[in-house]
């Protein structure tokens, strides 16, 4: 199976309808999608998961609310927005179209609700499939149980790597992954089905036995066992329920204590800020004292600009007064001359008679001069006072150094006060966090420890019950066998029972053997991949022990106790690669930011290996892990097409195809 194309409509950052053609062939099985962080690489992976399975889980395993998939801009523009993902698969050279959609509608309460949820699956040459059959058809394309290994992101790789480092989690992870991807479940489910048939035969055998007399004792014993098993299973069910509740309580306590960690951090931060605030306040106090000392000596310094202005003003005033006085003297002199002229008949200078016209002119001139004199106002009498004021002001020294120092202190005071205010704001915010979580760490920790102990005790009791139930059920089987043996040899029930017993024992005997074969397959594939990828000669291969611990071994087959970080990364990659190669399904690999954690030394060999991972490999990469100029060559011309996720705005990304290569 391969993905031919994906069409996204208002999904995540993809506004409107956007299409990616993912066609590949065996010569060029890779599609590269470049996108920096927050551009929508993970949204593409989520879109595929959602279209296939109708749900998407977060890294923490919580189901994401599908309303959150709607593009923000589309949602804001309309009260009703269609969100859809359409995938066209190439299944055995025939196209199959899968489309999942919903309409996000704003209801009367202004809440956004999902309406018109639809799923559509249609082969190119056949009718659309009934909705109820679609999950099964999707499971055949790529079952969700194995999809983690095909649709994976850098986090999955990192998670694998972390778990493989720990002996406790390693065995569970390795064994679980192998059983899941290689199909041990199929045999386990067959066993369940056989048990179902056995129960039908057992009921019939008992019904028939009741008709005769010779089996009474066996039947009585069986009835007793029925009662015991029923009671024990009820007890076990109750305990299991309690265990679930205790585990929820444990998870809650852990969450609370994690929050306490946050509070602890907040407390530490607040203490630190309080120290900073004290220092800041001390500084402010010191600056104030400095300012105070300076002012006790040079009290006028803050008034210096005013003093300077005042002196200029006084100078101007004095200048005006002096000028007026000069003018006044001048005018009075002129007036006295004109007055003298007006009192005589003959001009003293030219000895001619003063005419009537001239006399009138003199009178007019006198009137003008009188007016001019009057406009000058009365003679200033306070000039001395002004001069005294000016002298007093002038006596205050310019105190240049003191002024500069004061300016500096003033600046420091402002800056320090601002700092103190900001620190106070931070302290207030942290105090709110601290006050909002009143929790007693000791009490919560005690509850957690008690619950953990309780959970262990319950688990042990359940195990004990299971052992007892196994014994009783075994006894039950033996008694039923007796009934079977006691029945007539030609009784069809006898034959039925024998066949079922036979298949049942076959399955019992084969489960472990099958698991062993799976272990060997994965070990051999992982070794082959590891040898291809590793650049470190001291490691020879991968060993998966009988306890499902995955280890690196040297050329003598000895387990390498402390592999390098690079070798650990390659080990995780080899293990996932081996699972995919051995998987019961073949599908496209879609890897989101897969190389971020891999060291540069291995990049070349890993990129050379990636094309062999599946029939189609879609790589969603960012510049930090894949440098196109440097790394494209390592993919050996096996890239079918390239796309770039271009940012249009914080809420929109455009998928742009790169020119053909």
């Amino acid at each position: 199976m391969k993905i031919k194309s994906i069409t996204l409509e208002n999904f995540g950052p993809y506004y409107g309808v956007q299409h990616i053609d993912l066609s590949t062939d065996s010569a060029a099985p890779i599609v590269l999608v470049y996108g920096e962080n927050m551009r929508g690489k993970t949204s593409i992976l989520r879109a595929i998961r959602w279209a296939l399975y109708g749900k998407v889980l977060s890294h923490e395993g919580e189901e994401l609310d599908s309303r959150g998939f709607a593009n923000y801009d589309a949602r804001d523009e309309s009260s009703s927005v269609t969100v859809s993902v359409e995938i066209v698969f190439d299944e055995n050279s025939s196209d199959v179209t899968l489309k999942r959609s919903y309409v996000l509608t704003q209801n009367d309460d202004q809440n956004r609700i999902v309406t018109q949820e639809q799923i559509f699956l249609k082969p190119a040459n056949g009718p659309a499939m009934p909705t109820k059959d679609i999950p099964e058809a999707v499971a055949k394309i790529l079952h969700s149980e194995v999809s983690d290994f095909f649709l994976f992101d850098g986090e999955t790789l990192s998670d694998f790597e972390t778990k493989l480092r720990s002996k406790e989690s390693k065995s569970i992870l390795v064994r679980g992954s192998i059983e899941r991807i290689l199909g041990l479940q199929s045999l386990q489910l067959l066993k369940k089905d056989l048990t179902y048939f056995q129960s039908i035969v057992a009921t019939d055998l008992r019904r028939l036995a009741k008709q005769g007399q010779k089996n009474n004792q066996v039947l009585d014993k069986l009835n007793q066992l029925d009662e015991s098993i029923k009671a024990k299973e009820a007890d076990k069910a109750n305990l299991s329920e309690i265990l679930v509740a205790v585990k929820i309580a444990i998870a809650e306590s852990e969450k609370k204590l994690a929050a306490v960690e946050e509070i602890r951090d907040s407390l530490i931060a607040r203490n630190m800020y309080e120290v900073q605030l004290r220092v800041s306040k001390d500084k402010i106090k010191y600056i104030r004292e400095q300012i105070s000392d300076l002012l006790s000596l040079h009290w006028w310094v803050p008034l210096s600009p005013w003093i300077e202005r005042k002196i200029v003003e006084l100078d101007d005033t004095m200048e005006t007064i002096n000028s007026n006085n000069r003018k006044r003297i001048e005018l009075e002199f002129l007036m006295s001359q004109l007055n003298s002229q007006s009192k005589v008949d003959i001009c003293e200078r030219c000895s001619q008679e003063i005419s009537q016209i001239r006399r009138a002119e003199i009178d007019a001139e006198l009137v003008n001069l009188k007016k001019e004199l009057s406009d000058l106002g009365s003679e200033e009498t306070d000039l001395n006072e002004i001069q005294q004021d000016r002298k007093s002001l002038k006596s205050l020294s310019p105190a240049v150094n003191a002024r500069l120092r004061l300016a500096d202190l003033d600046k420091d005071f402002g800056a320090e006060s601002l700092d103190a205010d900001q620190i106070q704001i931070k302290i207030n915010a942290l105090s709110e966090v601290i006050q909002g979580n009143p929790i007693s760490i000791t009490a919560e920790d005690k509850t957690l420890q008690e619950n953990r102990l309780y959970a262990v005790q319950i688990e042990r009791t359940i195990e004990e019950y299971e052992r007892q139930l196994d014994l009783w059920k075994n006894e039950q089987r033996n008694l039923l066998k007796t009934l079977q043996d006691n029945s007539e040899s030609n009784d069809p029930l006898r034959t039925h029972g024998k066949i079922l017993d036979y298949f049942d024992s076959l399955l019992d005997g084969s489960l472990d053997h099958f698991r062993e074969l799976m272990r060997q397959s994965v070990e051999s594939e992982a070794t082959s991949i590891f040898r291809q990828l590793s650049t470190e000669p001291e490691y020879d291969g991968v060993k998966i022990t009988s306890k499902f611990l995955i280890e690196l071994v040297d050329q003598q087959g000895r387990i390498m106790e402390r592999p390098s970080a690079g070798a650990q990364q390659i080990l995780a990659m080899s293990f996932i690669g081996a699972l995919v190669r051995c998987a019961v399904r073949r599908g496209p690999m879609i890897m989101d930011t897969p190389f971020g954690r891999l060291d540069l030394g291995h990049r070349k060999s890993i990129l050379g290996w990636v094309p062999t991972l599946g029939t189609q490999v879609i790589l969603l990469v960012q510049s930090g892990e894949f440098d196109r100029d440097r790394d494209l060559g390592y993919l050996n011309n096996q890239v079918a097409s390239e796309f770039v996720l271009e940012r249009v705005s914080a809420t929109r990304t455009m998928i742009v195809k790169r020119k053909a290569i």
């Binding site: 099964e136 969700s144 290689l182 069809p492 039925h496 079922l500 005997g509 019961v584 073949r586």
Partner: protein, 76 residues
Amino acid sequence: MIEPLDRSRENALSAIRKAATDQSTDEKGIDPFLERFIDIGFRHQFSDSDRSIARSELKILLDEVIPLFESPKNED
């Protein structure tokens, strides 16, 4: 090249054949049934909701096997 699905199925079959050999049972001639038995398991391997189909298929298979048990073949 063996496809992964076939390889896994082959592994399961081999495991069951081995278990059958280990049991040294008198029942012979059921090998084709083992294959069908495994097929049913693998076709319905993940689908819990689909167990009823698997069960009907198993029922048919068992009905076909019964005559073999009723008149076991001789070891020749």
